[in-house]
């Protein structure tokens, strides 16, 4: 009995921490509609900051706490809201979620960079370490008491804040109707800023309390948020008392499991599967159940207005793209070193995984955070199935994983939006913990996946595998194009654009979603099944999926080109890390940094460039200019005026940075046109004139310089040429109240009000 009581107290104190985290999630979700996946990472960062101040720099605890919680956390919240989240009004759920994923990746990268794991670092001690208090014969540490106190304090403060203060009322008003609040003189932006600051403080508090119990480790601190998700979902993302109750239940479950797992009667394995990963899986299982217990998401009209748009891909361009991709890979793979070949191969594997998101997320608008999990299952199936990697094995592996995908989706299919995304995350975590980390699946830490066995063709070199991967991507890509052009493709888009309309027209949403999930899982399975090498479970870990999802959305999840772009970008990132070790830390935060720019360009980068080329198509003068420039660069190379490297870099710069900007520059005002032109001109001259072969001593550095060149001059010129400020689209009846109308806004308002044709 005594023991049970002890564990109850332990459980409640863990629950108190979950409650604090979860209430922060609820605060931001209700005020800005953004479900912040990076919430746990915020707490982690705060815990590290506190450690730095308190234990490394030896500041007194109150001062360190004050600086962390009341200065840095609010500041972080304000910056996040102002520069990342504010641009996301009116974007789709997919984009909004991806941006928080980006933030998540960014913060993990940052923490890894600043505080590399180091066993000799100062310990993170509890508050009043060693002091205990005895209540009813049970010793409770002061730290636990403080944790309880904090949770109760947070509950009281939130209650008072939301119901008794002006800001609280404004917060609740914004939740109800943002546009109306704005009309009535409320300032939603300020309210959102306040909410994000408050949320960061809550995350920080929880992070510090938890670090006291569990020490500083990035992963548990970040995954803390999964437990908090479960609590927040039990509270339906808006009910704070229910959230607190959910948190308590989670804490207790964890503590009781800990207590009972020591007992002799407790099974050590179930059907041959070890249960070592079980304790860590409890919150995820609760999350899964809480999600499934949610009522069927209701069909509602008039919900989302999605900004991003992609054209139907034409067969001719798609075929041309596929053939040239293979041709380019065949051509350059002969020149690559073995390690570079492997890196590019890696990029293509990522690209196939990214491709799996195109029909699911891009077309059907269903977010999945588990693409790599399906790739991992594909790898396992390929290695375990008989046939030693022949084509039939591959097909069987793909079919099996596609079925698993559909099976997993089946219970989750009633959900939509973030709830669906979270359930895929829960699935990924469970598979990672309970399947991938099992001795039976990955014996001795890795398995070898047989190379695809094609009759008469021997593929045993990295180059062969690279070419195979590029062919696989092209074929699958054409398949995805075929889907988009088919009946099914139109249905997937219909599902994304308006589930309500699709259902009332006779479409079974469940069947369409199942098809999307099965197709997606099948494509991802190919990526794993074709790896043709030793693979380890770490490669398919849930956290590894996040950068892929992220960069695919950045590249443009609605198009095959976007998937290629996203995959290669991720591959390129690891190239950076290996080629230039000094940049290793930058590569940790790169995907996240790229991702947070999404608010500006929701359709993705590839789409933006493609759009620019499309608008170029009927302007002959500009086309001639672009072609002439390319020819000049080529002649310079052919005449040995510039080196091959200068040719390559200037050429890529011309294609990716200069040409797409031409139309924009021509449309800009005169001054802007001149400045932008000079800008691009400098870029070209720099690209041509640098002695790339000697001044820059490695391929990697040259590539980085190229990226920098494009980022600096290409994007710079684009910004200069962009005349109009960004359109702030809150609601047509609000525009013009706080500032003057721009032409775009007038246009938009008239369209929205239906007064123009």
């Amino acid at each position: 009995m005594q023991e049970l009581l002890t564990f109850t107290i332990i459980g409640l104190s863990t629950g108190a921490i979950y409650a604090v985290v979860a209430s922060g999630l609820v605060v931001t979700y209700t005020t800005s509609g953004i479900f912040n996946l990076a919430h746990g990472a915020t707490g982690m960062l705060a815990a590290f900051t506190y450690w730095q101040l308190r234990f490394d720099w030896d500041l007194p605890a109150p001062i360190a706490l004050f600086i962390t919680l009341f200065v840095l956390c609010p500041l972080f919240g304000i910056v996040t809201e102002r520069f990342v989240m504010r641009g996301l009004q009116g974007t789709s759920e997919v984009v909004r979620l991806s941006v928080t994923v980006a933030l998540f990746a960014f913060m993990i990268g940052l923490a890894n960079w600043i505080w590399p794991s180091d066993s000799s670092r100062e310990a993170f001690t509890k508050f009043f370490e060693g002091n205990t208090v005895s209540i009813g014969g049970i010793n409770i540490s002061w730290h636990k008491l403080i944790t309880f106190g904090c949770a109760i304090l947070v509950a009281i403060v939130l209650r008072l804040l939301l119901f008794r203060t002006r800001m609280g009322v404004a917060m609740r008003a914004v939740v109800d109707d943002r546009a109306l609040t704005e009309l009535n003189g409320g300032r939603p932006d300020r309210v959102a800023m306040f909410a994000w600051s408050l949320s960061a403080m809550l995350a920080g508090l929880a992070g510090i309390l938890l670090a006291g119990e569990q020490q500083l480790n990035i992963e548990p601190l970040v995954l803390l948020v999964i437990n908090a998700y479960a609590a927040a979902i039990i509270g339906r993302l808006k009910n704070l008392p229910m959230t607190f109750a959910g948190a308590a239940v989670l804490g207790l479950l964890d503590a009781y499991y800990l207590q009972f797992s020591d007992k002799s009667w407790f099974p050590q394995s179930i059907m041959g599967f070890g249960i070592s990963g079980m304790r860590a899986s409890i919150p995820t299982i609760v999350l899964f159940i809480a999600l499934l217990a949610r009522p069927q998401s209701r069909l509602r009209a008039g919900v989302v207005r999605i900004r991003e748009q992609n054209k139907v891909p034409a067969w001719s361009t798609s075929l041309l793209g596929a053939v040239s991709l293979i041709a380019i890979v065949v051509a350059i793979s002969g020149m690559l070193t073995r390690s570079n070949t492997l890196l590019l191969l890696n990029g293509f594997t990522f690209a196939i995984v990214a491709l799996s998101l195109v029909p699911l997320t891009g077309y059907a608008g269903q977010m999945s955070l588990a693409p790599l999990t399906f790739a991992g299952l594909g790898a396992i199936a390929m290695s375990k199935l008989p046939g030693d990697g022949n084509l039939l094995t591959l097909i069987a592996a793909v079919v099996i994983v596609a079925l698993v995908g559909a099976l997993v989706a089946l219970p989750a299919i009633r959900l939509s939006g973030i709830y669906l995304a979270l359930s895929t995350a829960a699935f990924a975590v469970l598979v990672t913990k309970l399947v991938f980390n099992q001795k039976q699946t990955f014996m001795s830490g890795n398995i070898s996946v047989p190379v695809l066995d094609i009759p008469f063709i021997e593929i045993n070199t990295p180059r062969g595998r690279l070419i195979l991967a590029s062919i696989a991507f092209s074929v699958l890509g054409l398949g995805v194009v075929a889907i988009r052009r088919s009946r099914l493709g139109r249905r997937l888009i219909a599902l994304k654009d308006s589930p309500a309309a699709a259902a009332t027209l006779g479409m079974s949403l469940t069947r369409t979603k199942l098809a999307a999930f099965a197709i997606s899982a099948g494509i991802a399975a190919c990526a794993g099944a074709l790896s043709g090498d030793k693979v380890s479970p770490q490669q398919y870990d849930f956290t590894q999926s996040l950068p892929i999802v992220l960069l695919t959305v950045v590249g443009g999840v609605g198009t095959v080109g976007g998937a290629l772009f996203g995959g290669l970008m991720l591959g390129g990132n690891s190239v950076l890390a290996t080629v230039v070790p000094t940049l290793k830390n930058v590569t940790k935060i790169l995907p996240g940094t790229i991702g947070v720019t999404l608010g500006r360009n929701p359709s993705g980068a590839a789409n933006q460039i493609a759009d620019a080329y499309r608008s170029l198509a009927n302007r002959w003068n500009l086309l001639v200019f672009a072609a002439a420039g390319a020819i000049v660069i080529w002649i310079l190379d052919a005449q040995y005026v510039i080196s091959h490297w200068a040719f390559f870099i200037a050429g890529v710069f011309w294609i990716l940075a200069v040409t797409p900007n031409l139309v924009g520059i021509m449309q800009a005002t005169k001054t802007r046109r001149i400045i932008a032109s000079i800008y691009l001109g400098i870029g070209v001259i720099v690209a041509i004139s640098i002695d790339w072969d000697n001044a820059v001593d490695s391929t990697g550095k040259r590539l980085i310089a190229l990226v920098l060149l494009i980022a600096l001059f290409g994007v710079g010129a684009q910004r200069v040429a962009e005349n109009a400020p960004r359109i702030h689209r809150s609601s047509p009846d609000v525009i013009g109240l706080t500032k003057d109308f721009t032409d775009e806004e007038l246009d938009h308002a008239e369209r929205e009000l239906g007064v123009v044709l």
């Binding site: 209701r298 069909l299 509602r300 009209a301 008039g302 207005r305 999605i306 748009q309 992609n310 139907v312 009946r487 139109r490 249905r491 888009i493 219909a494 994304k496 654009d497 308006s498 309500a500 309309a501 699709a502 259902a503 009332t504 027209l505 006779g506 479409m507 079974s508 949403l509 369209r751 929205e752 009000l753 239906g754 123009v756 044709l757």
Partner: protein, 236 residues
């Protein structure tokens, strides 16, 4: 037997009564109007009929079959189609593809021909290749009607189809409704444009604060004191 029979439908949102027990019939070959002040519960009733909202009590029959517990897509297969007050076009598809999706869902045989005919019929043929999200409200409403018709419905629910239409388009809509009912289609029309309603409807139901307060021919409705009271607040 009526094409649509709504019996005792009630909808509560928490403590709020949105619809308090509605009986309503739509006959094949007729346009039935459903009018009422804002907030009367018209759209909620549409949602109940099309299956997007579960009623707290009551039943919905289509051609004598009880569909109260059927999912929206099953009701569509029984010949029910609707448009939306706040437009719900598939905004990233072209106008043609919007209509085509619906025709494909109805498993028609000559899809291309049907789609062309429907675009022609509602008068948006020249917009066929435009992206639906770029359309002005008036054209978008017409496309929604074409899309609903592409499922080959027996009963069409139109939620404020004339708002955002100019006068010529509105007249054209009236003509279209006559043509459609002449083919045996039943139409339930929610609309604030009273001249259109009085002009095209064979029978009108008046909904106020969740209850049907009157029903009858346009002439009867125009002279019903209860209706005048609901609309104008004049003492009855």
């Amino acid at each position: 037997m009526s094409l649509l029979e709504v019996r005792g439908v009630m909808v509560r949102f928490g403590g709020v009564m949105a619809i308090g027990g509605v009986d309503l019939d739509v006959q094949a070959g007729e346009v039935t109007g459903l009018i009422g002040p804002n907030g009367a519960g018209k759209t909620t009733l549409f949602n109940v009929i099309s299956g997007m909202q579960e009623p707290t009590a009551g039943s919905v029959h289509v051609s004598g079959v009880d569909v109260t517990n059927e999912a929206p897509h099953r009701r569509a297969k029984r010949g029910l189609a609707r448009t939306f007050q706040r437009l719900e076009l598939f905004s990233s598809l072209t106008v043609r593809d919007n209509v085509r999706v619906a025709a494909e869902l109805a498993a028609l045989t000559n899809i291309d021909e049907t789609v062309d005919n429907l675009l022609e019929k509602v008068g948006v043929s020249d917009l066929a290749e435009q992206t639906a999200g770029d359309l002005p409200t008036g054209s978008a409403r017409l496309v929604e009607i074409a899309r609903a018709l592409a499922t080959g419905p027996r009963l069409l629910l139109l939620d404020e189809p004339a708002s955002g239409l100019d006068e010529a388009e509105s007249d054209r809509l009236g003509v279209l409704l006559h043509e459609l009912t002449a083919d045996g289609l039943g139409v339930l029309l929610v609309e604030h444009d009273m001249s259109l309603v009085m002009h095209v409807c064979d029978r009108i139901f008046v909904l106020d604060l969740g209850f049907i307060i009157a029903n009858g021919t346009p002439h009867e409705i125009q002279h019903d004191p209860k209706v005048l009271h609901a609309y104008l607040g004049a003492p009855s």
